[in-house]
Amino acid sequence: MNRSRERTSLWAKAWYKLRRDRIGMISLGVVLLYFVVALGVWLGLWGQGWSQVEGPMWAPPGPKYWLGTNIIGQDIFERALYSTRTAFDVGLVVAVLSTLLGGLMGGLAGYFSNRWADELILWLMGVLDAIPFYLFVAALAYALQGNPYAMHIAMIATFWTTTARLVRGEVIKLKQFEFVEAARAIGLPRRLILFRHILPNTFHILLVQATIVFVGAIKSEVILSFLGLGVTDGVSWGLMIAESTQEVQAGHFSNFVTASSFLFVLVMAFNLFADALQDALDPRKVSA
């Protein structure tokens, strides 16, 4: 009795579906494992020796340096661990803030559709979408005078538009439902109707978008750091790949392979998890 009532809610149903999705659960496990690694670096448990220059140049993998050392004798494994933290720093900050911004802007635009507020937000989204991303990051980095968060801000400022478009469409649909009409009929202020009755119903979109943005942010960080526009303090997989391009020409692949594999496994797991989440939350989504 209790069980069957539980399953009627969207979230219980989604969780039930997700739990039975084997690939989805395995990928969630991998993501959580990475998160534990990042957490350990935050707490100072491991990955702290990433900047020490103590080993010989290009030491082979062994018991002391698990994955060998790089061109100036730094432990590649330590650096890859610390980079996991960098990736989660970027991914979490950008995913959470850009999703919040996208939800807010999309909600406002959808609620006031075809009014000036909507027009203004649509215009802003069009403008942001029309600026080449790398240039925007570079320009923002200049304008913020080397602020280490310039890259984060640039990503938040550009990644929210997709979320906002999706939320806007959903809100336009939702606001014609009876429950909104009822809320309006009993005289609730618009602020409450939008934030307490309409926006919570777009949460499934926000959740899926957040996972997609997380992946996008990590991938962009790697390329931006490689180009010298991204992470400036600390180390990241992108910086490791950047330094490895010289080593690769000399036939030392450990740095490149390590950074690439760490990045690939995380992104792949996150992509698969995002798919599983979408399958679980959206009954209409076409899938296998």
């Binding site: 403008v127 029309a130 304008a143 992104v267």
Partner: protein, 317 residues
């Protein structure tokens, strides 16, 4: 005639967009951008000399005047001279844009055609092993960073540690043979990366189209698979396909080429942009941002006109 009227009307609605892009880029790159004064003055400059340089750079004029000047440069396509090389910006662009187009075009076309072909196959065998294989492959393709693909392909195909068939970097193109030798590795890398995203997107479009009533009816009438796929599914799914292709054009030319060109050392507009970013070459950056925005608006208009061409029901009113 109707088309021309429509295009003009659209062009006018595109103006706020161009104003917005130029305003933001002007604010970020010029107004709050790097101060060039101290790059130009010598040692022990007097306050008068500093003021003189600032006057030449236009720093003492009001914001609006400087912004309007930028707009004038955009309209007349005269962006002045590059800060770092002293070459005219318009002649730099004239030299480098064809190289970038030649570099990016094969990968862009192949990536989309192959993506459509694979997506049709996957949608046709939906739920079967071929579909699962293709979709699994595309998730893997989506998960590998573009950067890693470029470096790995260079090692495997161009370096002495791999096959060593192609030049490692550069762009010494004098005839078609050279072109093929230099364009192959970047093209393969672009296709590899684009294929995952494209296949997934197009498959979703085709699967949705295949669920429609007209396809079911055609199937019931015994339409052969090839005709069904091309005439009933592909043709009806052209609108999302066109939208995707058109909207990637403005960015393929600049953003897409930036990483490839800077890694392979190919002198196209992407490398010029990258160099301009690292050296803070404002005239070049202003030109690139402004032209991308203009291209974006152009694509918006062309896109709507193409809708009309492929779907007679679409009205241009």
């Amino acid at each position: 005639m109707e088309m021309l009227q429509y295009a003009l009307r659209k062009l006018i609605t595109g103006i706020p967009l161009i104003l917005g892009v130029t305003l933001i880029s002007f604010l970020l790159m010029v107004y709050f951008g790097p101060d060039k004064t101290y790059d130009l003055i010598g040692k022990n400059a007097t306050p008068e000399q500093i003021a003189e340089i600032r006057h030449q750079l236009g720093y003492d004029r009001p914001f609006l005047t400087r912004y309007l000047e930028y707009l004038k440069e955009l309209v007349t396509l005269d962006f002045g001279y590059s800060d770092s090389t002293g070459e005219r910006v318009s002649s730099i662009l004239k030299r480098t844009i064809p190289i970038s187009l030649a570099l990016v075009l094969p990968g862009f076309v192949l990536g989309n055609l192959l993506g459509i072909a694979l997506a049709l196959a996957a949608a046709w065998y939906r739920g079967r092993w071929l579909d699962k294989l293709i979709m699994g492959g595309s998730v893997v393709g989506m998960s590998v960073s573009f950067l890693i693909v470029i470096i790995a392909f260079q090692i495997l195909l161009s370096s002495n540690y791999g096959l060593g068939w192609f030049p490692v970097r550069g762009w010494n193109v004098y005839d078609f043979g050279d072109y093929l030798r230099y364009v192959t590795v970047p093209t393969l890398a672009t296709v590899f990366v684009a294929l995952g995203y494209n296949t997934r997107f197009y498959r979703a479009v085709f699967v949705e189209e295949m669920g429609r009533d007209h396809v079911r009816t055609a199937r019931a009438f015994g339409t052969p698979p090839a005709e069904l796929l091309f005439k009933h599914v592909l043709k009806n799914a052209l609108i999302p396909i066109i939208t995707r292709i058109m909207f990637s054009i403005p960015f393929v030319v600049i953003s897409g080429a930036l990483l490839i060109e800077s890694y392979f050392g190919i002198p196209g507009v992407g490398l010029v942009t990258y160099d301009a970013i690292t050296t803070g070459d404002q005239p070049v950056l202003k030109a690139v941002v402004g032209l991308t925005a203009a291209l974006f608006v152009l694509v918006l208009i062309l896109n709507d006109i193409l809708y009309k061409v492929v779907d007679p029901r679409v009205s241009l009113k």
